[in-house]
């Protein structure tokens, strides 16, 4: 589904990603973790070309992301993305947030888009808030809306960029619950997160990154059982003690 082949990226002369390769198969959930500044957010933004990369290749459903001939808007419309700071559009009501891209990108009718939006809001438990504005919701609610907004496009895979790290602790679980449900339904997911509880519960594989490199890429049991690299061990001990 998603294939990342030998990606390298520089900001000027500073290398942020070095020769990263991995893949996410259909129905798989892959968690990417690592210390801050390790390049994990940059890597996931390369997947839907929000960040350009200078070397390597990313293939989504046989389409090359880096190819200048690729219709990026079309490709992105099939790749859902959830951001750290939610990024709902503050000037649009919740239902209009869900409707906008359905109408403008997929060409659905307003009514059809509205029905689809309401159904998804219902699914994340926020149907009653459809006519409010993002500024009137809590962080956890906003992030659930953001997930619903991405799902409204019928994506064939979902990218999560630290979806819970801007949330107050008491709101993290409501978002994770939605994500777990999504994973159990068989959605293909690539998730940048420090929530190791989430990883243990639903991940198939865990990737550990440091200094722009993929240090470890292992099945979940293997990763939590006995990480091979010292850096991953160190990171895990810090993260797990913290929780």
């Amino acid at each position: 589904m998603i294939e990342i082949r030998n990606i390298s990226k520089w900001y000027g002369s500073f290398q942020v990603l070095t020769d990263c390769s991995t893949k996410v198969d259909k129905g798989e959930v892959v968690v990417v973790c690592g210390p801050s500044g390790s390049g994990k957010s940059t890597l996931i933004k390369c997947v839907n070309a929000l960040e350009p990369f200078q070397k390597g290749e990313i293939i989504i459903n046989r389409i090359s992301v880096g190819d200048p001939k690729t219709d990026l808007p079309k490709l992105r419309s099939h790749v859902g993305m959830v951001f750290q700071h939610f990024e709902l559009f503050p000037h649009l009501s919740i239902i209009d947030n869900l409707r906008l891209a359905q109408v403008e990108v997929l060409g659905r009718g307003r009514e059809e888009a509205g029905e689809k939006g309401l159904a998804l809001l219902d699914r994340v438990g926020l149907k009653a808030h459809a006519d409010k504005f993002p500024g009137q919701l809590s962080g956890g609610q906003q992030q659930r809306v953001a997930i619903a907004r991405a799902l409204a496009m019928d994506p064939f895979c979902m990218l999560f960029d630290e979806p819970t790290s801007a949330l107050d602790p008491e709101m993290i679980n409501e978002v994770l619950d939605v994500m777990v449900e999504l994973a159990q339904e068989g959605m293909t997911m690539m998730v940048v997160t420090h929530e190791m509880g989430f990883a243990r519960k639903v991940a198939n594989r865990v990737i550990f990154m440091d200094q722009g490199q993929i240090i470890e890429d292992a099945a979940k049991e293997e990763f939590f059982g006995a990480p091979r690299s010292e850096r991953a061990q160190h990171f895990l001990s810090k993260i797990l003690n913290h929780c």
Partner: protein, 248 residues
């Protein structure tokens, strides 16, 4: 020094038909409003396009916006007016040139020159506000719009510009008020706007204190009403639950 105060002067006949001096002020105000609103329309359209250009990643496109702003902000308004009034008409392509110079009434061709001047002058200022507004938005908003598959044009149209315009209503208000004040340069090329009518009344009646007092009162009231109108607009488009959009 004898000065004959006469506050009733505005209701006295000008000696031309049934006209009283107050009529002159009303016609003048009409010209002022027409000039300013027409210029504002151009300024908003062009200024928005230029402001968007200045935020684009393509260097050559944003350079166009930058060059425009530098040029139009560093040449005095009056010089710009002279260019539009004295020079540009001579370089219009032929059938249009004759039509513009001879086919149109002088006040119409003068009106067009002033509107072009005010519009292009103010566009440089609107451009800067639009650019500031867009740049004040969190970078993540662009990413979120692109990630949903919106193309750049739709990203600006549905996500960035509606938010940017809400942020910049206060500075835009002051540019909007400025164009009304700036439109008084029209009097210098013989258009009978509010200022020109005031001067004419002062010269005809010798009651210059009264004439200028009324003119400042009209400008003052105009200014206040426009400001209240913009405040009303700002409240109307305010998004619930949002105190300030430019927070981050």
């Amino acid at each position: 020094m004898n000065y004959h105060w006469d506050w009733g002067i505005f209701f006295k006949s000008t000696g031309i038909g049934q006209e009283i001096y107050l009529h002159w002020f009303i016609t003048g105000l009409g010209w002022t409003v027409a000039l300013s609103l027409s210029g504002w329309l151009i300024a908003m359209l062009l200024g928005t396009v230029l402001g968007v250009l200045r935020t684009l990643p393509q260097r050559s496109l944003s350079a166009i916006g930058t060059a425009y702003v530098n040029l139009f902000r560093n040449v005095p308004l009056l010089v710009q007016l002279f260019v539009w009034y004295f020079i540009v008409p001579d370089y219009l392509p032929e059938p249009i040139q004759t039509w513009f110079k001879q086919g149109l009434k002088p006040e119409i061709s003068g009106f067009i020159s002033v509107v072009a001047c005010l519009g292009l002058f103010t566009a440089a200022r609107v451009c800067e506000q639009v650019r500031t507004g867009i740049q004040a938005l969190p970078r993540g908003q662009i990413n979120a719009a692109l990630a949903l598959g919106l193309n750049p044009w739709k990203t600006y149209r549905h996500v960035l510009l509606p938010q940017a315009f809400r942020i910049i209503i206060p500075p835009l208000t002051s540019e909007f008020l400025n164009i009304f004040k700036n439109s008084s340069v029209a009097s210098l090329i013989g258009l009978m706007d509010l200022l020109a009518q005031t001067k004419q009344t002062a010269e005809f009646t010798a009651n210059l204190f009264e004439a200028f007092t009324l003119a400042t009162l009209i400008y003052f009231t105009l200014n206040m009403s426009l400001m209240l109108m913009m405040r009303w607009l700002e409240k109307r488009v305010k998004v619930p639950g949002l105190i300030s959009l430019g927070g981050k």
